[in-house]
């Protein structure tokens, strides 16, 4: 009984108080024919034994030098972030329904909302969603609810949006009679050609998704796309990397009046890669649309004595109040991840975050200039890129990836499955954590793989 404190004497006294001979009697309302026998589970392990097991398992994971991004980024995480986040008072608390006993979590969430609103230049932020892909799905649903001008439920979804995000959107909005229209990309620049939107001009479109940075690492013409959305009565959904926003124009300033909704994955802000999760999704919007925003919201108010304090608010949007008519079914979100992200942003500050973004960008420039100097390797797109880029070589991408793995490098993400038209292309990412030596080594290994096969 690893975590049960009862002594034999306790059990005797409690059973006596209940007037039953054994705990078994407490299950006598369950029909006997439903009871299962002993479960076939491995035997119990002591902490020392399970530690040995998990260390061995962790050791089976191969630590490769990471040049992969594609939605999950290795950034340096200050030691203080998880030292504080792991405190039991954050780790083992519930959703802050009892506001007076949860001021710590509530204030963190308010500060988080403030930081995200400022980073995206939007009015409000919710307290998190599950991850980037689900935040996009929720944004699409929100856009349809919000857009009073449109009756079409048609969404323009560029192919430059992460293919994993697009498949999640399909699953989640699949039963809602929405039409997802794929927007092609310019094979030369690797971004949505605003001119390609012309065939949709004047038609009834509920929303346009604008990824910045896009899946290929390329920077989209966000101003033109946002202006088009506004002119055509479509909600502009900005899908953004929050790290990049320290350097790039924030969604609230795109076009004439800014995007309407900003969403994305918060993982770059202090969350470990951890095999794909837990990360957190974020969503920000204009004040006018706040009643359509899904997820928890924290507001600042005052107590009976006029002292400032924090509480969950505008809960009439949520499932525990509105049930079948809620803006979303989300209940549990990614609270602890948001705590980490808040501490991360506080430690980095505006300048620290900008420098991480800039260093990542410059490292990627450096890698691409070394790679394009290698005979047989080429950059695929001409559009400006941020901290990811697509290249291809004359050898199959899978062989390049295997070859790099043998040399201790996770080379990136192969694009052939989702973009067969690009040939043997690899999406590569360099963050601030890679040194100049790492970068040169990557290019050297590519050259050697191309020369010696």
């Amino acid at each position: 009984m690893p975590f049960i404190p009862h002594t034999e004497a306790d059990i005797r006294e409690m059973l006596a108080a209940l007037g039953v001979p054994s705990t078994e009697t407490l299950f006598d309302e369950i029909p006997a024919e439903l009871r299962c026998g002993a479960l076939d589970l491995p035997p119990a392990l002591k902490e020392m034994e399970v530690t040995r097991l998990m260390r061995a398992r962790a050791g089976q994971n191969r630590p490769l030098l990471c040049f992969a991004g594609a939605g999950a980024y290795e950034h340096h995480i200050p030691a203080a972030v998880w030292a504080v986040t792991s405190r039991g008072e954050y780790y083992s608390a519930y959703t802050p329904y009892q506001a007076e006993a949860s001021q710590g979590t509530l204030q963190v969430l308010y500060e988080y909302q403030s930081m995200m609103a400022s980073l995206t230049a939007m009015d409000v932020s919710n307290a998190s969603l599950y991850d980037g892909a689900t935040s996009l799905a929720e944004a699409v649903l929100m856009a349809v609810r919000t857009n009073r001008k449109s009756h079409s439920r048609r969404i323009l979804m560029p192919k430059t949006v992460h293919p994993f995000y697009r498949r999640v959107v399909r699953t989640i909005v699949g039963s809602q009679a929405l039409e997802l229209i794929e927007l092609p990309y310019d094979v030369e620049t690797g971004r949505v050609d605003p001119a390609s939107l012309e065939i949709h001009s004047g038609t009834d479109i509920a929303a346009l998704v604008i990824p910045q940075i896009n899946f290929f690492g390329v920077l989209e013409a966000v101003d033109e796309l946002t202006v088009w959305a506004a002119a055509n009565g479509a909600i502009a959904i900005a899908l953004v990397n929050p790290m990049a926003l320290a350097l790039l124009k924030p969604p609230g300033e795109w076009g004439q009046e800014g995007a309407d909704i900003a969403c994305g994955d918060g993982q770059p802000l202090g969350i470990p890669l951890s095999g794909g999760g837990p990360y957190f999704g974020f969503m920000c919007c204009r004040k006018a649309h706040v009643h359509q925003l899904p997820g928890r919201l924290v507001g600042r108010t005052v107590d009976m004595d006029g002292k400032p304090g924090f509480t969950l608010t505008l809960q009439a949007r949520e499932q525990h109040i509105r049930r079948g008519r809620a803006t979303s079914n989300i209940c549990t979100n990614q609270g602890l991840m948001v705590t980490a992200a808040t501490i991360y942003m506080a430690l980095l500050g505006p300048e620290g975050l900008r420098r991480v973004a800039l260093q990542s960008h410059q490292n990627t420039l450096s890698l691409m200039s070394s790679l394009t100097a290698v005979d047989g390797a080429e950059r695929v797109f001409s559009g400006p890129f941020f901290h990811e880029a697509v290249f291809r070589t004359r050898r199959p991408a899978s062989e390049i990836m295997d070859g790099l793995a043998e040399r201790g490098i996770l080379g990136g993400h192969e694009l052939a499955r989702d973009y067969p038209e690009l040939g043997e292309a690899i999406l590569v990412c360099v963050t601030e954590t890679r040194t100049q030596e790492d970068i040169e080594s990557y290019a050297r290994q590519i050259a050697s793989l191309l020369n010696h096969g």
């Binding site: 491995p42 399970v50 083992s92 506001a99 006993a101 350097l247």
Partner: protein, 482 residues
């Protein structure tokens, strides 16, 4: 004081500040940011002290008794956090998982198998990020099942009136019309009402058992028969699995699809609101529809099934493989329990609940279902206090905070007036339960003699009762610097 109030222009956590590396000429000027985001400028100690102090304003399992019904606030073992945080797990990129994450995948695969055994289901997918997403996945599988059979008239999902709010919300999100089913006087689903509600339009029913009323529905096989006969499927909301783990399996009760809340039964942390994990399990009928990824073992290698191998899958629900770090914590927890340990979870959570109920009744509290055994949680109603002393369940809850315990769940389920849903969990000692009873009795006395003491509670927390009306009427959702 907000972190922004501690900010001073030009201050920084210098150990985190990379050297200035000049401009970014490769990015066109019109795409660059011109204004600084209003993030705080503080030293590392400023940030550490600020967020450490804030943490001290929280009640948590580590610091307080937290009998929050329906949430299973049991001890979250430290070792689970430690082991899931080993660098080998933390530094694995999701896109390298099959190539570089065999150790992670081994744990996830075994977790799938163990959860299938615990629930009596044929297959499990770990993809869903939380219970509500698991519900959505379950609903989507039910929809996909009927559609594949061309049974398109099944547009209605039955939900008992006692259900969690996420159930009807998930059903709507999955494209179903929600139809409520009444509860009988014993807290079971009203079978007559159910017979009247089912028909060719019934896609399925979403049930929690033990229900949110804290009692085990003895007619579960009859419910399963009625719904199955009508052509519908049974969905099990695993929120209350703590009460029956190792004793009864949803698969044996007749359920076709389930979700589990690993942050409840399997002791992963609630984190002040998440992250959770909501694996789904299915019987043979729904196996082809499971969300991806599903992890399989080929020889000694683990890999994830693709859309081509599972063409009828409802698809992906999250970007990558789910909340892997949470899943690893649950894996460690189950390995430490083994089958005996798991069965004892049900036994002792039930023993604690029944003991606490008995002691509270002796202390003068009114149970909602005196004729029933408690499962792992139970309901008391404070309607007499409300009537005689104008003290509400909310007032009582706020006063509990003053005594250093977190309040039970209040006003849920909606069926019982002025209710407390109390779930002590198995990790609390007899002394903790006895202390809670003494506090409850003390407050009961106060309610009768000095009701204002309760109405103006809490008195000893960082803030007193908050003005929620003002928060909603004049939303202040983000700090604006002057």
């Amino acid at each position: 004081m907000l972190i922004f109030d501690r900010s001073r222009r030009g201050r920084a956590a210098h150990a985190q500040l990379l050297p200035e590396s000049g401009e970014s000429p490769a990015i066109p000027d019109y795409l660059l940011r011109k204004t600084r985001p209003a993030l705080p400028e503080v030293s590392e100690l400023d940030a550490v002290r600020h967020y450490t102090r804030l943490s001290q304003q929280n009640y948590s399992i580590d610091t307080q008794f937290y009998p929050l019904g329906s949430c299973t606030m049991k001890y979250n073992p430290k070792v689970c956090h430690d082991l899931a945080s080993l660098p080998g797990f933390l530094n694995t990129h999701p896109l390298g998982l099959e190539r570089t994450g065999q150790g992670t995948l081994a744990g996830l695969y075994e977790l799938q198998e163990m959860l299938a055994e615990i629930t009596g289901m044929a297959g499990v997918s770990l993809a869903c990020a939380a219970g509500a997403q698991g519900e959505f996945a379950g609903v989507a599988m039910i929809r996909a099942y009927h559609r594949l059979r061309d049974d398109l008239a099944r547009t209605e999902m039955l939900v008992p009136d006692a259900a969690h709010g996420t159930n009807p919300a998930s059903a709507s999100m999955g494209g179903f019309r929600v139809r409520e089913v009444a509860t009988d006087a014993d807290g079971n689903v009203d079978l007559t009402a159910l017979e009247l509600a089912v028909g060719p339009q019934t896609a399925g029913i979403m049930l929690t058992n033990p229900s949110t009323l804290g009692v085990f529905d003895q007619h579960i096989r009859a419910i399963a028969d009625i719904v199955h006969r009508a052509g519908g499927l049974l969905y099990y909301d695993g929120a209350n699995l703590n009460a029956i783990a190792g004793k009864v399996r949803p698969g044996d009760m007749g359920f076709d699809v389930i979700h589990l809340n690993l942050h409840k039964t399997f002791s992963t942390p609630h984190g002040g609101g998440g992250p959770g994990a909501g694996p789904v399990g299915v019987g043979d009928k729904l196996l082809p529809f499971l969300p991806l990824p599903v992890i399989v073992k080929d020889g000694s290698r683990y890999r994830m099934l693709t859309e081509t191998e599972r063409p009828h899958s409802i698809g992906h629900l999250v970007t990558f493989a789910g909340n892997v770090g949470v899943l690893l914590r649950a894996y460690v927890y189950i390995r430490m329990l083994g089958h005996e340990g798991l069965e004892r979870v049900a036994e002792f959570s039930t023993l604690n609940a029944n003991y606490l109920l008995k002691k509270l009744v002796e202390a003068g509290f009114e149970p909602a279902f005196p004729q029933r055994r408690a499962a792992h949680e139970f309901i008391i109603t404070l309607k007499r206090l409300a009537k005689e002393h104008h003290v509400t369940a909310l007032d009582f809850a706020k006063r509990l905070l003053d005594y250093g315990v977190h309040a039970p769940t209040v006003y849920f389920p909606l069926l019982i007036p002025e209710c407390f849903l109390i779930e002590p969990t198995e990790t609390e000692s007899k002394e903790a339960l006895d202390a809670f009873v003494r506090i409850m009795a003390e407050i009961l006395k106060e309610a009768e003699t000095d009701p204002d003491r309760l109405k103006s509670a809490p008195h000893s927390l960082p803030v007193r009762r908050l003005d929620e009306v003002r928060a909603a009427r004049h939303p202040d959702l983000a700090y604006k610097s002057e």
